[in-house]
Amino acid sequence: MNFNLTEEQTMIQDSVARFVQDNYAFDQRNATVALEHGFSLDHWQQFAELGWLSIPFAEAHGGFDGGPVDTMVIMQEFGRGLVSEPFLPTVLLFGGLLKAGASEDVKNALIPQIVAGELQGAFAFLERQSRYIISDVRTRARRDGVNWVINGEKVVVLNGGAAQKLLVLARSSGEQSDENGLSLFLVDAFAEGVASTGYRLTDGREAANITFNNVTAEAVIGGLGEGYGLTSTVVDHALLAVAADALGAMESLNARTLEYLKTRKQFGTHIGSFQALQHRMVDMFAACENTKSLLYRAVCAMDAGDEDARRSLLALKFMVGKAGRKIGGEGIQMHGGMGMTEELPVGSYVKRLMIANTLFGDADHQQQRFSALVSEAG
């Protein structure tokens, strides 16, 4: 039993940390998210050159064959630095779904492009009415000869503005909330009938609402009706990634808040000398450590294919929401008026944490899933 990183994982961690240090000072970050689509293509090319875009993919497709721990290490540093490049949507969601379900031909065609930094992707699965229920899908796919034709609308598609290719979760059969009858379709973002409206999330990253009007898909990914299963698998890995990102953000925000307590003076002394603030800072520290412990628990369980993996994942995502909200709210409060300003990155961390809470289901949603799972297991 150990909680150590391998030498390789430590190297990845160091190289991401170095990138953040060189490129993600707060003013640099603000300049980056102000770019079109909210990130830098130069950074993306660096990611490719440093090999980070290859991490989860099989060696046969130019990948590194990494596991959940490798993803965790990268995402934690991204969160720490508030990195805005679309690693989650392009590599982990779009790439992850291709890896899990695409034919060899499609993999051979697309994954090397992702690894080379040439292809941006997105996963379009949410709809206006679906909230956190992934199976609540109205978007339809109907057969037209050898083709599949898609009609419907997807919302809050992460990286939807920059993506050249989309994976669309659509209903090829069944009723609105059936888990059966969902399939995944590869769609070119520039195909006829695709209309995208881009916008920014609170922290500057980009998302889009996308309508599909008689759009012909390029391929079915996985078998017909396998869309829900594939999505679940990939979303599980994405939950872990989002949690690691959030942990990095929590650690960084806690460190900044602690530093502020040690330097800000009022009533003739450091405000960190006041017990009321000390105890609250300890609670923030504890919230962060709880998240870290559950992250380690989940990553080890997933890596080992342990039966406890799902319960741990849901517990983790619940804690991300709960601890993130606490650390975010207290982080602003402890910084006083300065916490309200755009001069400090405090607000950006809080926004990052709030987005992490909603991604793939918020704390309340995860708690309900957790309770159902545990009660069922008896």
Binding site: N2, F285, A286, Y296, R297, R311, M319, Q368, S371
Partner: protein, 395 residues
């Protein structure tokens, strides 16, 4: 990063599981159920602890030369997890967990030979004399005095909140041997035979209805200097180093896991408006929150154990074990009271369990009130936070 057990560890797990299955026969299991609330704590525990000792597992954490086991940290984890799962309590801690490490670390050869085997075999039962009426969270201001006269100390003063004193043969005390310097510097660590003339015990009535707390008075009690551990005036240092040993068991993860599983079954059986309480969204939320906190704590403890096993200083997360462990214990006790509903509020003893129909309500109530103490003793929650703020966060 890997928490899988090796084949050897899995074999060990089977051995431990089998041991507890064999050891806890029906009769002993009955006596140990709710033992914390039992007036016959010592009798129930004596038999159980001797069975542990017969297997060599009374004190696996001690150094091998004194009767401990040469286990890896995974084995210690497995042992505690299986013990908890089997519903077996940890031994009464005052001897084996609290005073013994001070004796084998700072005691003389004679002291080790005299006390350690009797602790292992539960021949001597111990209690802890630290707190005083004027020295609670501010322990170092203690005033119980030990004045040197030849080969003896003459002890005067009293100790308070002494759990288990009524059944103890010995008490380990922090006493003041010097008042001249820094308050921490004049404290010595003294072992006192409870049968010494001048030592008296008076019970303290507590809100849980369980007799566990006492005051211990010393009126010119004469204690041989040979009973002092280590140097005069170093007692504070010894007692502080002991806290490290306490820490590794104090979270009581295994016990809480078992209590939580029991709680779930009680809630499942409880019907409210035609539905199981387990299907009540609000109750389910509270239950999930404490279970998730416990899952986190379990891994926090593993992280601490793992870093200790690698010879490192326990990480900053170790300071949270007591605080979070007791918070979880109290939450579980609270939920158990809520499951019992009205029955949690009946004064027990007037009706038999079968008349009440909620046979867990009595123990639930006692443990709820007793459990209030856990965020007070061993450094209150507030003291824990002060310590974490100072030593971990540098505030």
């Amino acid at each position: 990063m890997d928490t899988r057990f090796t084949d050897e560890e899995l074999a060990f797990q089977t051995e431990v599981r089998q041991f507890f299955a064999d050891t806890l026969d029906e009769e002993l299991r009955g006596r140990l159920e709710g033992v914390e609330a039992s007036p016959n704590l010592k009798e129930a525990m004596l038999d159980y602890q001797r069975r542990l000792n017969a297997k060599g597992w009374m004190a696996p954490g001690w150094p091998v030369e004194y009767g401990g086991q040469d286990w890896s940290m995974s084995q210690h984890f497995i042992f505690n997890a299986e013990r908890g799962k089997a519903g077996a309590p940890a031994p009464i801690p005052f001897g084996v967990t609290m005073v013994a490490p001070v004796i084998y670390t700072y005691g003389t050869k004679e002291q080790k030979e005299r006390f350690l085997p009797r602790i292992l075999n539960s021949d001597d039962w111990w209690c802890q004399g630290y707190s005083e009426s004027g020295a609670g969270s501010d322990l170092a201001s203690l005033q119980c005095k030990a004045q040197r006269e030849g080969d003896e100390y003459v002890v005067n003063g009293s100790k308070i909140w002494t759990s288990f004193a009524q059944a103890a043969d010995w008490i380990f005390c922090l006493v003041r041997t010097d008042n001249s310097g820094r308050k921490q510097d004049g404290i010595s660590f003294l072992l006192i035979d409870m049968t010494t003339p001048g030592v008296t015990v008076s019970p303290i009535e507590t809100i849980d209805g369980i007799y566990h707390l006492n005051e211990v008075h010393f009126d010119n009690a004469r204690v041989p200097v040979d009973n002092r551990i280590g140097e005069e005036g170093k007692g504070w240092t010894y007692a502080k180093s002991l806290l490290v040993y306490e820490r590794l068991s104090i979270a009581e993860v295994a016990e809480s896991k078992r209590n939580l599983a029991q709680l779930r079954e009680l809630a499942r059986a409880e019907v409210n408006g035609g539905h199981s309480l387990l299907d009540d969204a609000v109750f389910a939320r509270r239950l999930a929150e404490v279970e998730i906190d416990l899952m986190a704590l379990e891994f926090t403890e593993l992280r601490v154990l793992a870093s200790a096993a690698e010879g490192g200083v326990p990480g900053p997360e170790s300071s949270l074990l007591k605080l979070q462990g007791t918070t979880i214990q109290q939450t579980i006790q609270e939920l158990r009271m809520d499951v019992a509903g009205y029955y949690s509020q009946t004064l027990q003893g007037n009706l038999s369990a079968s008349q009440l129909g909620h046979d867990f309500a009595d123990i639930a109530q006692k443990l709820y009130f007793r459990g209030r103490a856990s965020s007070i003793y061993g450094g209150s929650d507030e003291v824990q936070k002060n310590v974490t703020a100072k030593h971990v966060l540098g505030l």
